[in-house]
C-alpha cells in the first residue's frame, strides 16, 4: 500500500498540486474579481444593476442566442455578463465581460478574466473541452485513492500528528507531510470526492443511459426542471418591465438574493428571463429558479429542488464550492486548501528525496517537481502583477494576463531543470516570496488603493485585506526558502551498532 501511495501520488501529483492551488485561490473568486477591476467603485442594488446590464446587452449583443449574468453581491460588486460574440477569425464564442453595477456598461473597466481564470484552470486546465475536465477528474480520483492509501500506510497516523522534527531534512519533510495531511484530512477527502462528483455527468453517464436510453432531451429536462428553455419563434418582441419580473423573483426567494440571471433567445417573442436565487446562504449548490416570459412578464415556472437524491447531490456539490455565508468558512476553505496543496508538495518532494539522485530519470523528476511546486504560486503572483502593470486600455489584455501566467510557470520549470534542485528551490522560493511581498506596493502605485495608499484608515477593506494576505504569503515564501537553504544535508550515514 505504501508503494501505491508513492507512485499514484507522483503520477498525477504535479497536476493535482496545480489544481489544488488554483482551487484554493478560487475560494476568493468574487473578491479577486473586484481586486482585479479597481475601476469599479460604485455599488448598486441587484435589481437596478441587472436591469442596467440587460439594457446594455440589448444594444451590444442582440444576436447572441442567450445572455448569462451574475448579479453583484456582497463579495463581488461587478455584474459579470457572458454572451456569444463573433471572433476575429469568423467563428463565434462566449465572451466574459464585467459591467459597472450602476451604468451597466463595460467602459473604463480594464479587460480581465479576474477570478474566472483560476476557477476555469482549476477544472479545465486550459485544455479544450472535454479533455481538461477528463484529466481533472482523473487527477481527482487519483488524489482520492492516494489519500485513502495514505491513511492505510500511516498506521501511526495520530502519533505522527504530534511528531515534528524540524531541521532534519527528509524527516522534517515527512513530518510536515503527515501533519498537514492529517490536520485537514476530512477536508482533503471531502474536496477530492466532491470534486470528482462535480464532473460526473461527463465522466460517468451510464446511469443516465440506464434510465433514459438515447433520450437525452428528456434527461436534461427532468434533471433540471428549473431550466425552462422554449424554442425561438423568429418573431421579435420588446421586453416587458424587467425590474418588475426581478422584484417578483426576489419576493419568492424567502429572503434570499439574486444569484444568476439568464435570458434565452433575447429579443424573440418566446424569450424567457430566468432568475436563480443566490446559493451564497445555503449548503446546496444551485437554488430556486423563477422563469418569466420576457414579452409579457408573466411567470412561466418556479422550481425549487426537493427530490432527496438530487438534493443530496446538490449539497455534495455545494460542499465543494464552499459558498455558504460566514466569511470564516471561506477562510477555513482557503487554509485547508493551502494545507492540501502543501501536503501534495511535500509528498512530491519526499518522493524525489527518497530516490537515487544519480539516476537521470529521478534527477529530472526532482527538478521538474521543484519548478512546479515553486512555479505555481510564482505564476499566480505574476498573473496579479500583470493585472496591475499592463495598460488598462491595452488590446487583448485579458489574454495577455493569462499568457504571462503560463510564461512565468514555464520559465520557472526551465530554470529548475537547469539548476541543482537545492539551489533551484531556494532561488525560486525567494523570487516567489519577493514577488508576493512587493505586490501591495506595485498595486498601490498603479491604483492608489490599499495598505500603502492610506487604505488602512479609510474603508477600502478588500484592498487592505488583500495586501495583508499578499504580505503573509510573501513572508511565508521567504521563510520556507531560508529554512530549507539553511539546512545542511546530513553527512553520509556511518554504520552504528544498535543502541
Amino acid at each position: 500500500m505504501a508503494w501505491l501511495h508513492g507512485w499514484a501520488g507522483l503520477a498525477l501529483g504535479w497536476l493535482v498540486y496545480a489544481i489544488a492551488l488554483s482551487g484554493t485561490a478560487t475560494v476568493f473568486k468574487g473578491e479577486l474579481g473586484d481586486w482585479m477591476r479597481p475601476e469599479i467603485v460604485g455599488r448598486a442594488g441587484q435589481v437596478e444593476a441587472v436591469a442596467a446590464a440587460l439594457d446594455y446587452l440589448a444594444k451590444a449583443a442582440p444576436a447572441s442566442p442567450d445572455w448569462y449574468l451574475s448579479a453583484p453581491n456582497a463579495r463581488s460588486s461587478a455584474t459579470i455578463a457572458s454572451y456569444e460574440a463573433p471572433r476575429a477569425d469568423g467563428g463565434r464564442n462566449y465572451r466574459l465581460v464585467a459591467l459597472d453595477p450602476i451604468t451597466g456598461r463595460p467602459d473604463g473597466i480594464r479587460d480581465t478574466l479576474g477570478g474566472e481564470f483560476l476557477y476555469r484552470f482549476h477544472f479545465e486546465l486550459q485544455l479544450p473541452y472535454p479533455w481538461g475536465r477528463l484529466l481533472a477528474s482523473a487527477a481527482g480520483m487519483m488524489l482520492l485513492v492516494t489519500l485513502i492509501s495514505g491513511i492505510v500506510t500511516h498506521r501511526r497516523i495520530f502519533a505522527d500528528f504530534f511528531t515534528l522534527r524540524p531541521g532534519k531534512g527528509k524527516r522534517s519533510w515527512l513530518d510536515a507531510h503527515n501533519v498537514l495531511g492529517v490536520v485537514a484530512m476530512p477536508f482533503h477527502l471531502m474536496i477530492a470526492l466532491t470534486g470528482v462528483l462535480s464532473l460526473v455527468a461527463l465522466t460517468l453517464p451510464w446511469a443516465a443511459s440506464a434510465r433514459y436510453g438515447d433520450d437525452m432531451a428528456r434527461y436534461v429536462a427532468e434533471a433540471a426542471p428549473g431550466l425552462v428553455a422554449p424554442a425561438a419563434t423568429g418573431r421579435a418582441a420588446p421586453p416587458a418591465d424587467v425590474r418588475m419580473m426581478l422584484r417578483d423573483a426576489v419576493s419568492r426567494f424567502d429572503g434570499g438574493t439574486i444569484g444568476q440571471v439568464a435570458v434565452i433567445h433575447p429579443g424573440d417573442a418566446a424569450a424567457v428571463l430566468r432568475v436563480t436565487r443566490s446559493d451564497g446562504d445555503q449548503l446546496a449548490y444551485g437554488a430556486a429558479t423563477s422563469t418569466y416570459a420576457m414579452a409579457t412578464g408573466r411567470l412561466v415556472s418556479f422550481y425549487a429542488e426537493d427530490r432527496p437524491a438530487k438534493r443530496t447531490y446538490d449539497i455534495l456539490y455545494g460542499l465543494h464550492m464552499g459558498r455558504f455565508t460566514p466569511v470564516l468558512a471561506h477562510w477555513l476553505y482557503f487554509l485547508s486548501g493551502l494545507a492540501l496543496s502543501a501536503t501534495i508538495a511535500t509528498g512530491l518532494i519526499l518522493w524525489t528525496q527518497s530516490r537515487d539522485p544519480a539516476r537521470t530519470g529521478h534527477r529530472f523528476v526532482s527538478r521538474i517537481t521543484v519548478g512546479i511546486v515553486a512555479g505555481m504560486p510564482l505564476a499566480i503572483a505574476a498573473f496579479l502583477w500583470a493585472n496591475r502593470l499592463l495598460s488598462p486600455t491595452l488590446a487583448g489584455r485579458a489574454e495577455a494576463e493569462v499568457s504571462l501566467f503560463f510564461l512565468v510557470l514555464a520559465a520557472a520549470v526551465l530554470y529548475a531543470v537547469a539548476m541543482p534542485p537545492r539551489r533551484g528551490w531556494a532561488w525560486l522560493m525567494v523570487l516567489c516570496g519577493a514577488t508576493w511581498l512587493m505586490l501591495p506596493l506595485a498595486s498601490a502605485i498603479a491604483t492608489g488603493r490599499g495598505l500603502f495608499a492610506g487604505g488602512a484608515l479609510g474603508g477600502d477593506r478588500l484592498f487592505v485585506a488583500a495586501d495583508l494576505l499578499f504580505l503573509v504569503l510573501g513572508g511565508a515564501g521567504i521563510a520556507i526558502a531560508v529554512v530549507t537553504a539553511r539546512h545542511k544535508p546530513p553527512a553520509p550515514r556511518r554504520r552504528r551498532a544498535a543502541a
Binding site: W206, Y219, A309, Y313
Partner: protein, 92 residues
C-alpha cells in the same frame, strides 16, 4: 525489478484503473435500473454510488494479498452488477 513483480504491479494497476472504472459504470447502470424512484432520482443515486465504487475497487486491487484474489473480487462485483443489468433489461 523481477519480471513476476512487474507483471503483478501492471496487472493490479490495470484493475485499479480500467477495471475500477468498468465496475463504477456497471454499478451505476445496475443501480439506476433497479432504483424504484423516478428516472431522474435513479440516475443521481446510481451515479453517486458508482463513483464511490471506483476508489473502493482501486484500493482493493492493491490491498488484496494475491493478484488472483484482487481480480477475482473485482470480477465477482462486476459479475453481480452485470447479472442485475442483464435481468433488468434495456430501458423502454
Amino acid at each position: 525489478m523481477r519480471l513476476a513483480k512487474r507483471f503483478d504491479i501492471a496487472a493490479r494497476t490495470l484493475g485499479a484503473t480500467v477495471g475500477a472504472y468498468a465496475l463504477a459504470a456497471l454499478v451505476a447502470y445496475a443501480l439506476a435500473r433497479l432504483w424504484p424512484g423516478s428516472d431522474a432520482e435513479a440516475v443521481v443515486t446510481g451515479t453517486i454510488v458508482g463513483v464511490l465504487a471506483m476508489p473502493a475497487a482501486a484500493i482493493w486491487m492493491f490491498g488484496a494479498s494475491s493478484i488472483r484474489r484482487a481480480w477475482g473480487g473485482l470480477a465477482l462485483a462486476g459479475g453481480v452488477a452485470t447479472i442485475i443489468t442483464w435481468a433488468a433489461g434495456l430501458p423502454t
